[in-house]
Symmetry: C2
Subunit: 365 residues, 2 copies
């Protein structure tokens, strides 16, 4: 692995509401430390990559509105390594922007694309895996993704089916992907799990810049066409204008849907590092191991709980006594301007808070 | 009614936890406006009496710790009309203190004793009733209490059975009391209600100072004995010392238990004014008439409620969006330092919050 040719692109533009009301449009999950680890998600992601690559080779793509948050949390990031999206257009245009930026800097660039909001416990194993993957794509012209052996029929993840069935699956040996399925329903997820030939797609991609460029131009010409002239525009005084025009005209499309599900070059790397998408209140509850005798996980100055089970209490300011009685399987989140009490189930939560899209709740979004 | 002989003693020493966490040891219910009427309970009580009596004739008895709260809320109260209890000894010693104070000022004093934490909607009818009662005790040597015709088998009230059964009961005609029963259980309360010969005891008493003095000396000599020498001590430079000694040595006993249940001079005045003891979260909920379509009564900056019924939400600072889903018959109270979520039922609430007596919760009491 020639580290000079290896880059990382951290995707940090998302504005999810899944940790509302702790996460807000103005401070989404990647800039928070909901799991109370001592660092925000994006800082973890950046530090994790700093152990593998030179700082100069780590880029962050985010929305213009999050520029200040990124600079506050990653103050050492050099300005030319921060790619700002003028409009939210999902991951395919962001990846195109990053791909052309790297190609201009180094035509032999390989790079890993990763979300900014995951928890990975075993960072050494993670580093080893990523290094192995860089070596692999140096030798092999593939679009590599990373797969985690599923342990439950989770409906919040994407699944990748490997070619050759369960016998083809070996840790640390990339295998060709047969199909991708995003967030299946429960029944399908159970079938996937039972078959033994599916992996959770960790949402991390690794490839040569040239390879992903070619595949995007093949499957998403309507996106890459907008970047025509990149060789002259990127890294110059007209970059802003060029990118604003390209994103303005661009469709909203994900890399998974636009490229990975269509290409015949997708391979998956079955990994062993402990990857966790703590992406919902329910998954945060599952992640929090400190519980009382009734399975309540609570973060507050002081807690008094009675007749309550499997309930997650989050009072981020930690100034309060939270006294609860008779709550089974709830989330209670208490911020300065919102108090949320809701069943913990992801779907119920999501349905419920979809209502904050109504104009009357604007100031609480 | 000769107003110069008529006085009022407002009892404001209680330190209940029934509106915890809005009420605290340092600011109990009488100094709050939990029902959001625009005035605190004690201010309402004082203003209501100001319509009947000269300001000079209205006294307040409270604990020393509440002196500043009283002076803040009733700034016009003259210092000699504020009787401070050095120790909490329940209502019998407070009444003794007030009785001897008034006897010293005016041996012909009649006075009404009333709690400081009730809601009375029809103040004109209330004034008429009190005036009628002053006239009655001027003519009749009785210990008069006030009775409200019960409308439900409430177990939070005291009941008075009238002599002569249901036929003896006529509005505005005092009738002799046969028995008093404090807070009966549900079955007994149902029997009381069905019999038609019981009234809710409104906790307001009216009498000649001389009459209550005589009855206290008869039934509670262990209390009145401690006030021996009152003629010389009260209203002088030694009053403080005298009262501190008397209260220090005194037993804790209520007027209802120590005198009213034992005397044969108790009469009750069946009244029609709209008296409400808003004394628990459940009764506050019943009092609040503004509800959403599912019977939720909510006081917050903004509310989003789904799958929730008959729930009371109180966010006194009114700075928050309160978003609740799946709560039936709960109370949610959100103060600066406590968040309470609990079934609304009085008994469940009381049992639950009895735990804040534990040392670890001291700062939240």
């Amino acid at each position: 692995m020639n580290k000079n040719n290896c880059y990382c692109v951290i995707m940090a533009g998302g504005a999810g509401t899944r940790f509302w009301p702790v996460s807000r449009v103005n401070r989404p999950k990647q800039f928070l430390d909901v799991a109370e680890t001592g660092k925000t998600f994006i800082r973890h992601t950046y530090d994790r990559m700093l152990k593998i690559l030179p700082q100069e080779n780590i880029l962050i793509v985010t929305a213009e509105r999050y520029r200040d948050l990124v600079m506050e949390q990653i103050p050492e990031l050099e300005r030319h390594n921060l790619l700002l999206e003028p409009y939210a257009r999902n991951t395919a245009p962001s990846t195109a922007y990053a791909t052309y930026t790297l190609l201009k800097r180094n035509p032999d660039a390989h790079f890993v694309v990763m979300p900014s909001d995951y928890i990975i416990e075993n960072e050494e194993l993670f580093a080893k895996t990523i290094e192995g993957a860089f070596d692999y794509v140096e030798q092999n012209d593939v679009l590599l993704t990373f797969g985690v052996v599923p342990t439950r029929p989770d409906t919040n993840y994407g699944y990748a089916q490997v070619l050759g069935g369960r016998d083809a699956l070996k840790y640390n040996e990339p295998v060709k992907v047969k199909t991708f399925t995003e967030k299946p329903d429960k029944d399908l997820a159970k079938i996937f799990l039972a078959s033994g030939e599916f992996l959770w797609n960790a949402g991390i991609f690794l490839w040569k810049a040239r390879t992903i460029c070619r595949e995007m131009e093949k499957h998403l010409p309507q996106v890459t066409g907008l970047f025509r002239g990149w060789e002259h525009a990127l890294g110059t005084g007209v970059e802003n204008e060029f990118i604003t025009k390209a994103f303005s005209d661009c469709m909203n499309i994900s890399l998974a849907y636009g490229v990975m599900e269509k290409t015949d070059m997708a391979w998956i790397y079955p990994v062993q590092f402990d990857w966790q998408d703590v992406g919902t209140w329910e998954s945060l509850y599952n992640y929090m191991t400190e519980r009382d005798g009734n399975g309540n996980a609570m973060s507050a100055d002081k807690v008094l709980a009675e007749d309550s089970r499997s309930t997650l209490v989050i009072s981020p300011e930690k100034k309060k006594l939270v006294a609860i009685k008779g709550l089974d399987d709830y989330i209670v989140v208490d911020t300065d301007d919102v108090l949320l009490i809701c069943p913990k189930d992801d779907k119920k939560f999501k349905d419920f808070i979809s209502q904050i899209a109504m104009p009357e709740f604007e100031k609480y979004r």
